[in-house]
Symmetry: C2
Subunit: 213 residues, 2 copies
DNA sequence: GCAAAAGTGTTTCAATTACACCCATGT
DNA sequence: ACATGGGTGTAATTGAAACACTTTTGC
């Protein structure tokens, strides 16, 4: 008799929040406590079995909304993990990663079995989920250097400094404000709104938008 | 009653061969003629159902060897396709892409139901396999610009011109020989063997190796 | 006025590009 | 000798980085 292969979809969601010690913004992600074997009681990525009538990304969104209350702006397939030894039963996981905006992050629920962790300081997780988190982090840090995804962490309108803060938090580096500004404004899709952000204790910075391609 | 979700692994394999018209090297890939419904008689990517006791990449290698006789040097996961509308029955495909060396390519079998096509000129394929081929091509052409994968198309030892030919064939561009040489030799893992390639009708070029990291 | 971050200008340095020119081999 | 691609030299251009300096707000 042939053993059945389970097919699950999981998601690594990232949001930027202040680090509990340093106060500087860092990456956080939500985990779910397992309520059944295997790995009962361990933290794991949100996810669940793929339903016969739903697309892969639909499944990711559904399970993410159910467990964490999140509807992320950016969702992207990461990788599929299917080693025979990653679980007692045979399960192939198609993993997505998501980026959560500040306003959306505010709506996140910290339920009974859901908790957020600093992405670089997650405990020992169920299955091979530590590997997956590591992989997602690497991919995010690589991709932010050559793509637009940093905007998935800002609002519609943003200051150059806010965008720089995202890069600094994700890549864990310090960037020269002057050079970052020039590089950013060199992209033709970044346009000034003419309005300014007020309420700061210094010169009010201009607000920009990212023109959709 | 819940419909069963099929799980298959397919592979897009690339090799460099002369274009039938221009004679210049281009990308080719093997396709398999379907011998059952759906899409009976159409060309499709080599692959098959995932066995319960094999890893994803093992499955890719197995089906590839069985249908095409190939054991590619480079094999990498591409993407997983799982839209509900990509087939009459529900099937999720985990797709790999492979790069085949010239010597390995020579061992390829052109069986009854296996045929090679110029990658940019494939006919209308079964399922969403045209989309997948397009995706694999884009990924290959992007990745060759920032990684080492060009070496998967050369032998252990190679001349700078051979390596340049790979880049030119894949990216469909002309590269300045002098500048390409300097850029290539700037990488510390490229080392001269001291030996030279003979039998050319001009100055014998030096042979190089790629030191493993 | 002072602090603090926004925003501009300028100099330096490294990498890419274009292209002229010499080298070593087969015919 | 000459054709052919291998291989070297070099000037021009571009872009990244470093950092001094000016501007505009809140307090």
């Amino acid at each position: 008799m042939q053993q059945r292969i389970e097919l699950a979809v999981s998601t690594v969601s990232f949001a930027l929040r202040p680090h509990p010690e340093t106060g500087r913004k860092t990456l956080w992600l939500p985990l779910v406590k397992r309520i059944r074997e295997p790995f009962l009681g361990r933290w794991a990525l949100p996810g669940g079995p793929l339903q016969p009538d739903e697309d892969l990304d639909t499944s990711a969104r559904r399970t993410l909304l159910r467990t964490t209350g999140l509807e992320p702006a950016h969702l992207e397939q990461l990788y599929s993990f299917g080693g025979v030894d990653r679980s007692p039963d045979r399960v192939v996981s198609i993993v997505y990663w998501a980026l959560v905006r500040p306003d959306e992050d505010a709506r996140a629920i910290d339920g009974e079995n859901v908790e957020w962790f600093v992405a670089d300081e997650v405990p020992e997780l169920a299955f091979d989920h530590n590997t997956i988190v590591r992989y997602a982090l690497d991919r995010l840090r690589a991709k932010i250097t050559y793509s637009d995804i940093a905007h998935a962490f800002t609002g519609e309108e943003f200051t150059i400094a806010q965008l720089r803060e995202v890069h600094e938090a994700v890549r864990q580096v310090r960037l020269d404000p002057a050079n970052f500004r020039r590089q950013t404004l060199a992209h033709p899709r970044i346009v000034a709104t003419g309005r300014h952000l007020t309420g700061t204790s210094h010169r009010p910075p201009e607000l920009y938008r990212l023109e959709r391609a």
